[in-house]
Structure formats: structure tokens, C-alpha cells
């Protein structure tokens, strides 16, 4: 019998939904085993009945519920709670659902500052009071889904990897547990490492890393050891695609000759990538204090769960 699936998106960009489509043709086979009962992005099932006649929000009961996006408003909190109630297994899909994601960078500022910027300090806008008439309340900050309701399965990534979605769905169809192995991006990165860096300067990505295109990856030196900040050491593995021909798995950004920015989040729950990264930088002889915009950069995708907060005002 087909497994019933409900999908909801909260504080989202839609990238994780597109990732589901990026399963490609195998998706058509999977669809035969899945019965989507609710999925606003693709299906016309409505909360209050098809002509809107019902009083109560109704998300149908499902075996598997998938939530993408973090929780920003009271309304999203309500949807997350309704999904938890109606779904036997709840999956947090993508780094926004798992850790708050990039939108949780807003957690560095009090709401009032955001409103000021958008409605009074924008160069094209005719300034006005913050719209407030009957608008839904925002929560004080962006929350990860597991801060609001218990989550059974986490599949991080910004966006996540279609291969992982297939693995997770297949495991759920077979009634098995799905959990990502606690490995780092470096553990699956094919570049050459010598455990020491050339100099003491941390470089910004204002110039190209050195790379040997068209040659085996081990001929290219680790970007971090070239002096560019790369979050591979403190980031969960899982983003990589297998290359055609040689079958080497290459982390996505590394393939683009750009350093990792940590979009899969920490390797294990409760880890502190900021502290761990500082240790990693120092251990190869680079100056950890030189990382520009350190706090925001090292918490870019994981600002929920209280990792990013407004800083107290500096004493004058």
C-alpha cells in the first residue's frame, strides 16, 4: 500500500522542494509508492475544504510529514504543530528546518532594527510607519523546527542533496531508520592535504584558489591550506555529487573552485562549529583571529537554536 505523505513549507526559499524534483526520472518510480495527500507547491489540496467552507485547518493524516523552512511566525508555528499532530514520522528537510538556515542571520538583530531598515531607511521607499494593521505576529526570532515540535528525521543542506532525499524516503518505505553518518566534508573531499598552510594570512575569496582542472583532484591543494577559509572541517558531509567517469565524490562548492561555507551544518548535534573551526585554523598554522566577520560567517546556516543573537550594546 502506498505511503501517505504530507509536505509543508514554512520560512522558505523553495530550494528544497526543487531538490525533490532534482531526483529526476527515478522520482516517477518513487511516486508510485507515495501518495501525496497535501503539498501546496504541487497540489491543490486546501486547508479549509476545496471551496473554503470549513472552519478548522485540516491537514490530512499521513505516514510521513516533510517540513522545509524554519519557523518565523505564529502561523508557521501552528502549521508545524498541525503537521506533528497528523504525521506519524516528521522529517525536517534542509538546513532552514534543521538549524534556521540563512534567514536566521536575522537573529543577529532585534526586530525593530529590521523594520527600521525596510520601512524608513530604504532609498527607493516612501518612508512610512511599520505596517501593523492586523498583521500576523512574528516570533522574536527564527526557530529551527525541532525548537517547536519534536522531529524524527533531519536531512540538512542548503539545499539538501536529492540522493539523500531518495535514501531517506527509501528507508522510510522499508520501515528502516535513516541517519546521516557523522563525517566531515573534508572526509569526502578528494583534494590534497599536507596538514599545514603556506602562510599566516587568511585570504578572502577576492582571487581564485589554485586548481588543476582536468587532472585528478589530488593534484589540487586543499583550499584551506592555500589560506582560504573553508568550513569543510566542521561541516557534515553529504552534499557531494559523483563525477561522471571517475566516480569521485566532490563536495559541491569545492567542484566550483570555491571554499565550503558550511551549508550542511555541524557534524554532530550540539557541536559548536565556531570554536571547532578556530581550532582547525590554528592547527595548520593560520591566524584564527583574522577571519573577517567571523560570527556571521561561521554561523551562516545555523543561526537558530540560539547560535545567533543580538549582541549587547557596546559600552561607550
Amino acid at each position: 500500500m502506498a505511503v501517505k505523505v504530507a509536505e509543508e513549507w514554512l520560512n522558505i526559499c523553495g530550494g528544497c522542494e526543487v531538490t525533490i524534483l532534482d531526483i529526476g526520472e527515478p522520482l516517477l518510480d518513487l511516486l508510485g509508492q507515495l501518495n501525496f495527500v497535501h503539498m501546496p507547491v504541487l497540489m491543490d489540496h486546501k486547508y479549509f475544504g476545496q471551496t473554503g467552507d470549513k472552519d478548522q485547518m485540516e491537514i490530512p493524516e499521513a505516514d510521513v510529514g516533510i517540513i522545509s523552512g524554519g519557523v518565523r511566525t505564529e502561523k508557521e508555528k501552528h502549521v508545524a504543530e498541525e503537521m506533528r499532530k497528523k504525521c506519524k514520522t516528521l522529517v525536517a528537510l534542509g538546513s532552514c528546518a534543521c538549524y534556521g538556515g540563512i534567514p536566521a542571520m536575522a537573529n543577529m538583530f532585534p526586530l525593530a532594527d529590521l523594520y527600521q531598515k525596510v520601512y524608513r531607511d530604504s532609498k527607493t521607499t516612501d518612508p512610512a510607519e511599520t505596517p501593523a494593521k492586523d498583521l500576523p505576529p512574528l516570533l522574536d526570532r527564527v526557530y529551527a523546527v525541532d525548537e517547536v515540535v519534536p522531529v524524527d528525521v533531519s536531512i540538512p543542506g542548503c539545499p539538501t542533496n536529492p540522493d539523500l532525499v531518495v535514501q531517506a524516503l527509501t528507508a522510510l518505505l522499508e520501515g528502516k531508520e535513516f541517519k546521516l553518518e557523522e563525517r566531515s566534508v573534508c572526509d569526502e573531499c578528494p583534494v590534497k592535504r599536507e596538514k599545514k598552510a603556506a602562510g599566516g594570512q587568511i585570504k578572502r575569496t577576492l582571487d581564485s584558489v589554485e586548481f588543476q582542472q582536468g587532472q585528478p583532484w589530488e593534484n589540487t591543494r586543499c583550499y584551506m591550506e592555500q589560506g582560504y577559509l573553508c568550513l569543510g572541517p566542521v561541516t557534515l558531509a553529504g552534499c557531494g555529487h559523483k563525477e561522471e567517469g571517475n566516480g569521485t565524490t566532490v563536495p559541491r562548492c569545492i567542484k566550483g573552485y570555491m571554499p565550503c561555507r558550511g551549508c550542511f551544518g555541524p557534524i554532530r548535534k550540539g557541536a559548536n562549529p565556531l570554536v571547532d573551526m578556530m581550532t582547525a585554523i590554528s592547527s595548520i598554522g593560520l591566524d584564527a583571529k583574522q577571519v573577517p566577520d567571523r560570527r556571521a560567517l561561521l554561523n551562516r546556516y545555523i543561526g537558530g537554536q540560539n547560535r545567533l543573537r543580538p549582541l549587547p550594546a557596546r559600552p561607550r
Partner: protein, 480 residues
């Protein structure tokens, strides 16, 4: 008095609700759409190293991340005062064109097209891409395959198709190898064949059946904004803005003067602003005498451009104009215009892959931080996208202003919903198919409410106020 709610609006990117209020005779009294989301990118980008922005702003939208990525990279070029080498520029254009094919297939077949393929009145349970796949397995397979080809191509070119990282200040971080180019060409040709099929299929089987709906639902009278080259040719990556009035006359401006032409109006009942043409008088969404209102996205681009540079799309544009004129105001024709653009971009991908510069190893120039302002614009699938950054001497961001495609269409979407509801609902008679047609007027704009609400929050809600003839609010409806 009776209230009808459509919630959530489905098969669009983001969440929305429509509420329609009927008077005692069962006719539409009034509708008032209100989007209630913000996310705050303009705030939390401040303080970041500007070269990091192309990989932060992508998360404004997972459906059109390449548009934000490229607008941001172009704003970076301007901040640093550099011009990318030809291959860097062309690789960006290549990615833009591939991304367009993927997104237009996504919108037409996965989101909007189900209304035309399955019929607007078909049962809701089959009025979706799964229904299409079950009713027409071969088409379903081709749709899934060809959209996926786009993302596979982007993975080959850049490593990361969603939330890409390779457009950098000064160019593109990853050159294209000859092996990769050879791998891409057959994929590009397959997508081009599919684009031709999609255009022909829609013209033969879909649009003719619904021409009456097209000519009545969601039709409003507005101006249009799009990007063209110096000789008026459609361009999606660079050029000048052409702002066309409803009568077809237009003025043009370079994008770094956008603040002289575009203002953003705030209403107290919505977080989402209303961009308007500053020189056309005060902002008004009155259906009978709108003021300052222009539209963006595919239909706007077909209206403002004089011609298209690729042969098949140019032929389609001529046919489109012959049938509907210029400028054309029928909202549902956004879908037709989108298929012409699918064809254009599919042709463009093949053209760029055959460009001798495309495999050059010179794709990027180094940059040095400085205090400056830089404006980067592209045509995103949903409309003209403007990223405006200022930096300090260390290249840290001090100010950000963003105007995104869907936001330009905020007022037109409001107006089309109102017009559609008034046209379709008479004497209290409606069913789920009627309400779906109201949604079709929204879907035509392919609104990306994640993009539009980049400013603070995530989820999208819509509030509608019902006003009486005196403009007093008699009822307020919201989806939270």
C-alpha cells in the same frame, strides 16, 4: 453577505490566501489582497564582506537562485570596479539561460500548466503534475526529464545548481572544459527539442481551448518594464531598462538611475511594498483608472522588446504579436510568453555552448576592496531584479537595497485577482473550478512570494479587506 476563501493558493512558490466577499446579491463586493511576510535580507547583509553576498542572497529564492546570484555578482563587479573577461561573462549568461529553461518548464508544467493540460475545472486531485504524468505518461516523463536536464547541466558547469557559488566578483570561478562542453551539447539540444515540442503542443492543444478565459480572466490595463539591448532586442542578462506606458510609448534608462524612475509605496495593511513608476503620478490600484502601475515578467518582456535574437523565438514573437497586438494586456498570456522565452533560452544555451570563448581558461580577474556603490541588474524569470550595494574601504557592506521581480507585480496581482473574481462570480454561483480560475490569474504571474518577501519573515500569508462602496472596511480576512 458571504465570504469565500481560497487557502492556500496552490501551485505557486510561497503561501497565499484569497478571500472573496459577496454582497447580498451574491456578486463580488470587493477584495483586497495583503501579503504579510518579510525576511530581512537587506538588514542582515549589512556588515558582511561584499564578495560573500552572491552566496548569501541566493537563499532569497531556491527557484531562481541564479538570478539573485548573478545580480549580486554584477553589483560586486561594479563595487570593485572590474569587468569580467569574455568567458566569465558568457559562463554567467550560459547559466542564466539554462536556469531559465529549467524554471520555465517548472512553472508551465508543474505549476500553471496543469490548469490547461487537465482543464481548469478538472478534479483538484488530478489537477497537478502527477495527474499529468498519469494521464499522459510520456509527456510526464519528458517534463520531469527535461527540467532535470537543466539542473544537471548547471551541476556540470558550476558544481551547484541551487544556491550556486561560481559567479564571483570579476567573473566566474570555474572555467568550462572542452570535455564538459561536449557533455553539455547533446543535453542542450534535447532541451531545445523539448522547448519546440512544448510551444507547438501548447499552441495546438492547450491555448485554443481556453482563449475565451484568456481574454476575460484577470485582464487589467497597465504599463510594462523589461530589459533590452541598445537596439531594442530582448536581453535577460544585461542592457537598459525600457518602461512602457499602456499606450505602447516608452522611455529608457540605465539601471544605475533606477531610483529616479521607481518608487516603492507602503500601505499600512501589508508588509510587501508596491513599486510604481514615479513619473506617472500618484500610486493607485483602481481598476478603472490605475496610476503608476506597471508589470514585469515574461509578458512585460514580450511587450517591451522590439525583437528576439534567436530565430525560432523571433518567429514565435511575430506570431504572438500578429494574434494579440502590442502591448497585450491579457494576463493569462504570461504563460504563452513564458513558452516563447523557454524557446529563446533553449536556443541561447546551444548558441553559447558553440561560442569559441566559452571554454577559455580566463574567466575571472582578481579584485581589491574599496569604498563604493554598485548596482547589479538582471531579468529574473519573474521580472527585473535590482541589487544595490554600498561598501566601506574594507569591502564590508554598509547598505543594501533590493527590488525583486515579483514585488513589481504586487499591485498587478492584487488588481487581477479583483478583476477575475468580479468577472467569474455572479449571483452567488461558483464552484471549485471557478475559484481555481481566480487562482489561475495569480499563477499567470508565476509569483515567487519567497522572493517578494525577502525582507523579513518566511511564510507568506495574505489578508483581504472587504470594503463597502464608501471605502470603509466592512470585513477583514486573513490566513493566520
Amino acid at each position: 453577505m458571504k465570504t469565500i476563501t481560497i487557502y492556500p493558493v496552490t501551485r505557486i512558490e510561497g503561501h497565499a490566501k484569497v478571500t472573496i466577499n459577496l454582497d447580498d446579491d451574491g456578486n463580488v463586493a470587493d477584495t483586497f489582497v495583503n501579503v504579510v511576510e518579510l525576511r530581512g535580507f537587506e538588514k542582515f547583509c549589512i556588515g558582511r564582506p561584499v564578495e560573500e553576498l552572491p552566496r548569501i542572497v541566493t537563499s532569497i529564492c531556491g527557484v531562481c537562485p541564479w538570478s539573485h546570484h548573478l545580480a549580486s555578482a554584477k553589483a560586486n563587479d561594479a563595487v570593485f570596479g572590474v569587468t569580467p573577461p569574455p568567458a566569465g561573462r558568457k559562463l554567467r549568461q550560459l547559466c542564466n539561460a539554462v536556469a531559465y529553461t529549467e524554471e520555465h518548464i517548472l512553472h508551465f508544467f508543474f505549476l500553471s500548466g496543469a490548469d490547461y493540460v487537465m482543464g481548469p475545472d478538472s478534479d483538484y486531485s488530478v489537477r497537478n503534475v502527477i495527474g499529468i504524468a498519469q494521464a499522459n505518461p510520456e509527456i510526464g516523463k519528458q517534463v520531469v526529464r527535461n527540467r532535470h536536464l537543466g539542473s544537471q547541466m548547471l551541476n556540470i558547469i558550476s558544481g551547484k545548481s541551487i544556491h550556486p557559488v561560481t559567479a564571483v566578483p570579476g567573473g566566474f570561478s570555474k572555467p568550462l572544459t572542452e570535455d564538459e562542453r561536449r557533455q553539455l551539447l547533446p543535453m542542450a539540444n534535447e532541451v531545445l527539442e523539448f522547448a519546440k515540442f512544448a510551444m507547438a503542443f501548447a499552441k495546438e492543444n492547450l491555448f485554443p481551448k481556453y482563449l475565451e478565459t484568456v481574454k476575460t480572466v484577470g485582464v487589467i490595463n497597465t504599463g510594462f518594464l523589461g530589459t533590452v539591448t541598445d537596439d531594442g532586442t530582448l536581453d535577460l542578462y544585461e542592457g537598459k531598462a525600457r518602461l512602457m506606458k499602456p499606450d505602447g510609448s516608452y522611455e529608457e534608462f540605465p539601471y544605475d538611475q533606477y531610483t529616479d524612475f521607481i518608487g516603492e509605496h507602503i500601505e499600512p495593511w501589508t508588509y510587501l511594498k508596491f513599486p510604481y513608476a514615479k513619473k506617472w503620478g500618484p500610486f493607485s490600484m483602481d481598476l478603472d483608472s490605475p496610476s503608476g502601475i506597471y508589470r514585469t515578467n515574461s509578458l512585460a518582456r514580450m511587450n517591451v522588446c522590439d525583437q528576439i535574437s534567436t530565430p525560432l523565438a523571433q518567429k514565435e514573437l511575430e506570431e504572438f504579436r500578429e494574434e494579440f497586438g502590442r502591448p497585450v494586456q491579457f494576463t493569462l498570456l504570461y504563460n504563452w510568453a513564458r513558452l516563447i522565452e523557454l524557446l529563446y533560452n533553449a536556443e541561447k544555451v546551444v548558441e553559447l555552448l558553440n561560442d569559441s570563448d566559452i571554454t577559455s581558461a580566463e574567466t575571472r580577474v582578481p579584485v581589491t576592496p574599496r569604498a563604493a556603490r554598485g548596482i547589479g541588474c538582471v531579468e529574473a524569470p519573474r521580472g527585473t531584479l535590482i541589487h544595490d550595494y554600498e561598501t566601506d574601504a574594507d569591502g564590508l557592506v554598509t547598505n543594501v537595497n533590493l527590488i525583486v521581480g515579483t514585488t513589481h507585480n504586487n499591485a498587478p496581482i492584487n488588481m487581477s485577482v479583483k478583476q477575475a473574481a468580479k468577472t467569474l462570480i455572479k449571483d452567488g454561483t461558483y464552484d471549485q473550478g471557478t475559484l481555481n480560475k481566480v487562482e489561475m490569474a495569480i499563477r499567470a504571474y508565476d509569483p515567487c512570494l519567497s522572493c517578494a518577501t525577502h525582507k523579513l519573515d518566511g511564510s507568506i500569508a495574505v489578508k483581504i479587506e472587504i470594503r463597502n462602496a464608501k471605502g470603509q472596511v466592512v470585513e477583514t480576512l486573513a490566513n493566520w
